[in-house]
Amino acid sequence: MSLSVGLNCPACGGAIKVNEGEHVLNCQYCGSTLWAEGDAGVLTVAYKNMQDRDGVLRATEQWWRKGLKARDLRKKGRLLECYPIYLPFWSTVTRVAGWICGYEERTYQDRDGHSHTERIPKEEMVLNDYNYTNIACDPGDLGIKRLRNIGGEASFADFESIPTFESTTSKDDSVNGSKEKALQDARRDAGVPHVTFEKVTIIPKSISQIYYPVWVVRYSYGERMYMATVDGVTGNVLSGRAPGDPLYQSLAVTGGTSLGGLIAAAGLIVGAGSDDGTIMFGGVIVGLVILGVTYMFFRHGSEIIEGDFEDKKMKNPLKDIGIELGGLRI
């Protein structure tokens, strides 16, 4: 966003444009180099909405057909509303430069059955610019916390017609949050299990604010209300809640419980006849995990959730395991 309101070149009086986030500017009339004092603000970009209502509804219907969602969703799903909004995001680039050294331990068995632990020394350079795009307001129930792809045509043309959510989180919090996340990601990328030396420098390179168009679709299925959000630039579904399929669900539950029970029982039977308690223990644990997952799947009813929802930690593994259980049945 360029601001030119009321700002004039102190040398020639010409109207000047100040790009937010930049301190140094050049007067286009007299060539003077100028300095914007104080808080230069943050560069702000808005992306043009490229979707219309029909396209958004088509994308939602296609999304309904994917995964373990109720198969009669297209028949029974009733559209309640569909509208675009602008959501604010902080977009940061954080440079990480350093070294993480240490070792990895590998245990192997020799011919006589003795186990040996080998230490493999590791030195990993971490040198990367990490880009994050985090939502700058309370996303409510939209299930959007970050954007994967930022791009499109920058334009404020739709700003008048599309409701805009104001940014409520601070620039400093965003910079600090990005620094923490960059360090975590750098450590993960380095992949050194046992660290003996770490020297990492983290430098915030840039921050900007992005207004991104998102379509909100609300619909009902039976008695319950569900929603989906669609990327206003790419037309892809970003997040959503949908009813699960009762058949898939019950198959997962019966398949899961019976499989869990079988493995747990097999663990006990095999384990009883063996000198090595680990088989029994392992079998029982695996069985219990499957039982537990099945229970969670069942308990949370038939809802399929995609996106960054607060309770996603609870539900996401269920979805994954549900699909795996489906595979096991075949």
Binding site: V24, N26, S32, L34, A40, W99, C101, P121
Partner: protein, 195 residues
């Protein structure tokens, strides 16, 4: 927000630059200044081009950090020689080294290439007192950011020697910073040294 005209803090002449460069050079009195929390005149060097380099000449800015460092302990798995020892000489564990940090906009691999390359080379150059109308690449890295990157350069040089670095206990003090304009020649395969 207030907008002011940038003037040389020594002779008050306005600075005219067509690019966004954080290092403001006054061609009248040859003063360089930055605005990092105040108006600060900085030390800078302009290295002389090799007389053979006549075409496509460009100056690249580096923050040259004069550092004192001390290795208390360095442990590696395999390999034995301290690479850093080369600067210290005679089995000493402490000494001075110039660390060069590229001051223009670089991506991470360019950053590493230029920083390590020049720091390992510890170039010798003769000075001139103006830019001779040769284009200079704008500075975007602040003095503070450059100072923060010094550790990376030191540890990289130690880690990239033979063997796998396991532990390094060292101290590093930046005693002096200076913007150094190094001569390069633009070619088909990037930049070639113009010293």
């Amino acid at each position: 927000m207030k907008v002011v005209q940038i003037k040389c803090p020594r002779c008050q002449q306005p600075i005219n630059s067509k690019v966004k460069d954080l290092a403001f050079y006054c061609s009248h009195c040859r003063t360089m200044h930055v605005r990092d929390g105040g108006v600060n005149v900085i030390d800078f060097d302009i290295a002389e081009f090799n007389p053979g380099a006549q075409q496509d000449r460009v100056y690249m800015p580096f923050w040259r950090l004069f550092t004192n460092f001390n290795i208390n302990q360095s442990k590696s798995a395999g390999g034995a020689i301290y690479k850093l020892g080369k600067f210290l000489g005679g089995g000493s564990n402490s000494g001075n080294v110039f660390i060069y940090i590229p001051a223009w906009e670089t991506n991470v691999s360019e950053f590493k290439h230029w920083a390590i390359g020049l720091t390992e080379a510890q170039p010798m150059y003769s000075l001139r007192n103006d830019f001779n109308n040769i284009e200079r690449t704008p500075t975007v890295v602040t003095r503070e950011e450059a100072t923060q990157m010094a550790d990376f350069v030191i540890v990289t040089m130690e880690a990239e020697k033979p063997g796998t670095l396991q532990y390094l206990d060292y101290s590093l003090n930046v005693q002096d910073t200076r913007l150094v304009y190094m001569p390069y020649v633009r070619g088909q395969n990037g930049f070639a040294p113009g010293l």
